[in-house]
Amino acid sequence: MKRVVITGMGAVTPLGGSVSETIQALDDHRHAIRRCPELEVCKGLRSWLAAPAELKNEKLIPRQNRRSMSRMSIFAAQAALEASKQAGYQPALFSPGKVGCIAGSTTPSPITIHQIYETFIPTRDFGLIQAMQFFQSMSHTVAMNLAQYLGLQGRFLSTNAACASGLQAIGTAYELIRAGSQEAIFCGGAEEFHSTVTGVFDMLLAASTKYNDDPDHASRPFDAARDGLVCGEGAGILFLEEREHALARGATIYGEILGFDTCSGGTHISESNRECIAQCMRQALTNAECSPSDIGYISAHATATLQGDGEEAAAIHAVFNDTVPVSSLKGHLGHTLGASGPIEMIATLVGLRKNRIYPTRNLTSVAPECQGIRHVTEIETTQATCFMKNSFAFGGINASLVCKID
């Protein structure tokens, strides 16, 4: 089997338009949660908070590429360009058809879908729908726009498992390179904010509703006073490469992916299940040929929902007991859904390379059901090299990835 390394990373997040801006914000303990007027005007919507990313410099993407991109694909393209530059990616350095593209999002562009139906329903006139809106509202819109923008001709896949989409993309890319079918793959996830996205979580009693007047304290994973998640947006894209290929071309290696697992819990359509999460983490460790004691940090999925955080904490306790530092970056970033896995993985990797573990923001009083694990509540100095990233999704979908910094 081949070894798979990370040679490029890029991100557009609620905390900044690049990896370095995002890391600086985490170093400064800043957060991105805002009260959102767009939500306040929606009848029946009780959650008025969001973690928006800034759309800027989009015209640097040629119109011919940008015309089929909604906000999420633009974020992904910008993140991919950052990853590409960091990796020193040039097509001529790779075999034809051996650089792939795997990316996903929770849904196609909710903004574009809204616009389409806003036009179509009152008129019933397809003549008013633009062709480009069609390309923005396909399930694989992020991945296909990314592949077009970068001119990629290798393996293509769109992962669409809601909030696990991004981590599934990275894990699948890892497995393909490991098996020798690709030399490198751009992979990750993207998301764009829209009232309907928050509306879904609010409807399912999973969005924060009690902190509309106090955004600073709204997103509080594992905390006793948590009351749900805050939706965010952005993109995280990694350039994964076969290790020998990266070494041969003299690329800088930032980390190595050691193992991955993703599974369906099969127990409940919306509720997380501790046994299934634990099983996923154990399988990822097995695939990585690691034991729990090899893991120096866990970047939790924990979104600040009442049910999910408790199940994840219980699962982590079952596998790792209280020995491994754990935190969730959603207190800073909100829940960037399909982009959360890649964004938080990149932040973790860069943080650990600086001997730094970022804490769970707003975790001041650990909820009883979230105890039994080693929570990180302040920035910690660490010598840890190996970490686990978790992402979970509605439908009982779990994903865990084991990564080692280089």
Binding site: R63, Q64, R67, G127, L128, I129, Q130, A131, M132
Partner: protein, 85 residues
């Protein structure tokens, strides 16, 4: 709608939808070779024109013979007058 208003409206479509600088919007400009539109852009050009002028032109064979911006102006003027009549 006067010819001048048609020209202004069409030029606005090219500026807003296809990001063409105003100084390039001259009647002799070939919309494909000079302004860089492709077949997909023409789909959205038709949609934009239908919205702006309240006309249905998607099935109109005359659309296929459009090459220059001047052709677009001329076509819309004819269509608009046909509609009015």
């Amino acid at each position: 709608m006067t010819r001048e208003e048609i020209v202004t409206t069409i030029n606005t479509v090219f500026e807003e939808s296809f990001e063409i600088e105003p100084e390039r919007l001259v009647p002799d400009a070939n919309i494909f070779l000079d302004l860089g539109l492709d077949s997909l852009d023409t789909v959205d050009l038709v949609v934009a024109i239908q919205k702006k002028f309240g006309v249905q032109i998607r099935d109109d064979e005359r659309v296929r013979s459009i090459r220059t911006l001047g052709d677009v102006y001329q076509f819309i003027e004819v269509i608009y007058n046909e509609k009015k009549a």
